[in-house]
């Protein structure tokens, strides 16, 4: 089968990391397979790059070409006669490609009827070999439907061909209202629906967040003038909304009169509950699970950034093992925290952070 032969040719898009078809790609995604490096322009007789062309300038006969030259199908095998069924629309226009039998003529005339799910030009070759194996009139929908792509126009919004479109029209997604669900690829459908649901939740949360006011500047947080200001500052211990700049201003405030940093400034301005850190977020949450997700994402992001106090092992971080940032040495090794346990006189165990000489001198009663 042509399909299995095709599978042995390395996908050009995959090589560049840009193949969107994944496991449905007709070409091989296995690095061990050979890529087809023949220049398609050279095949047609003229390559303007000449000797500087990055592709191989070798003659490939059309009979072999239909397998290793999948992209040369722009003008497939004119005049060789080894392949006769071409894209249905090309057949009658192409004088050199005379239908040799009456059955083929019938095929070309009624091809639209026979192939309601006709493939694009590049995907025609398998159908040709199939055509030899199966009698005409065999319903092609019975095989490889999952391999056929859906109409991208319909998926994007509207297809001008409507009912007469030769491609499969995808089912409508109930969330995004686009005809982009492939009827024969359940995995892809599932994936799309999940993505759509996630996007929808995000939009919903964003809509809900629009109306939330900061209690300090009395403005709606997401209506602030600059994008940098349009962020919430979430307090770890309570659920009162502030904009990130207001809450950070308050917490880093150096008041002229004796406000206590640890009891007043670290407290929520509304409920005075102490919070030890502020989480920036572009959306507000409605459930504690959502809040936890925002906090976890934030912490995970900080964990990938090198701590400037730890400075790749050259400095010391006052936050030690509870620092949110990454403590890694220059060679990528993570810092290991070894706690020193001191046995106190009364039998209890104390974890020593910094050991000072004065700690021992105090016990000497000099």
């Amino acid at each position: 089968m042509a399909d299995s032969q095709r599978k042995r040719v390395l996908c050009k898009y995959f090589v560049h990391g840009a193949c969107f078809k994944g496991e449905y790609c007709e070409f091989s995604h296995d690095w061990k397979d050979q890529s087809n490096n023949a220049c398609t322009f050279y095949q047609k007789g003229l390559c303007s790059f000449g000797s500087r062309c990055r592709y191989d300038h070798v003659k490939v006969s059309c009979g072999q070409a239909h397998v290793p030259l999948p992209l040369s199908n722009a003008r497939p095998c004119i005049g060789t006669g080894s392949i006769q069924a071409i894209h249905p629309s090309n057949v009658l226009l192409n004088g050199e490609c005379q239908p040799s039998t009456s059955s083929l003529a019938e095929f070309s005339v009624s091809s639209k009827h026979i192939f309601p799910f006709s493939k694009p030009a590049w995907a025609q070759f398998p159908d040709l070999s199939v055509n030899e194996d199966y009698p005409l009139g065999h319903d092609p929908a019975a095989y490889s439907l999952a391999d056929q792509p859906i109409c991208s126009f319909a998926a994007a919004g509207s297809c001008s061909h409507g009912e007469r479109c030769p491609h499969i029209h995808g089912d409508q997604c109930s969330i995004c209202k686009k005809h982009c669900l492939h009827p024969y690829r359940p995995d892809e459908r599932e994936e799309h629906i999940q993505l759509c649901q996630k996007n929808n939740q995000h939009l919903e949360a964003l809509r809900f967040s629009q109306d939330i006011e900061c209690s300090v500047c009395l403005d709606r947080v997401l209506s602030k003038p600059t994008p940098a200001e349009r962020k919430f500052g979430i307090l770890s211990e309570c659920d009162h909304p502030f904009c990130i700049s207001c809450i950070r201003n308050w917490r880093s405030n150096c008041p002229s009169i004796g406000m206590d940093v640890n009891s007043t400034l670290r407290a929520c301005p509304m409920c005075r509950k102490l919070s030890y850190f502020v989480i920036p977020s572009v959306i507000w949450y409605s459930t504690s699970e959502e809040k936890q997700e925002i906090v976890n994402n934030y912490k995970a992001k900080l964990k990938t950034i090198d701590c400037k106090y730890f400075d790749l092992g050259n400095g010391t971080c006052p936050f030690g093992s509870s620092c949110f940032y990454k403590h890694a040495y220059r060679d990528g090794r993570l810092e290991e925290v070894v706690l020193r346990h001191l046995d106190a006189e009364d039998g209890s165990i104390v974890i020593a952070k910094n050991i000072r000489l004065s700690d021992f001198l105090n016990n000497l009663h000099l």
Binding site: S215, C217, L218, P255, I257, G258, T264
Partner: protein
Amino acid sequence: MLDTTRVQKELVECNRDTAISGVSIDLHDGANLTHLCGSISGPLGTPYEGGTFIIDIQLPSDYPFEPPKMQFITRVWHPNISSQNGAICLDILKDQWSPALTLKTALLSLQALLSAPAPDDPQDAVVAQQYLRDYQKFVGTARHWTDTFAKIATVGIDEKVSKLVEMGFPEELARSVLEAVKGDENAALEKLCSG
């Protein structure tokens, strides 16, 4: 820089329901938003009932991250308010300030302070001692001060001028002195007698 948008919002919000809350804020002089003038009505059932108390409000440039500076202009007899200069002893105007508080909530707190004095943490030791030792005398003095200083606004300035004219002072002089002491009849009389 003072957050003027917030102050403007606060003024609108505060003056929306002055009849119910009993507190209002006005601009002190023209377009300057850093100097405001608040007024609260004396709470019912207290010696301050019926009086209108004027409070001078200065907004620091870091407002709302720093508390507003408030001071009574109207003289008031209260353990937590200085009888000499009107300085206020209230935690939320000092170390317990929070940026979620507004001028309106601060004025309402002052109104609450009038109805619930805290003599254990006094601003004016003389008043606090009187409050603790002779409560009836304290109530009498406070009511007298309210009647004398906090109800002047209800009497028109012309009436006061004519009173002083009846006492034998020239009308022009009486009017200018009255205006100088912001309508305080007793202070004007003192000034006229000494001058």
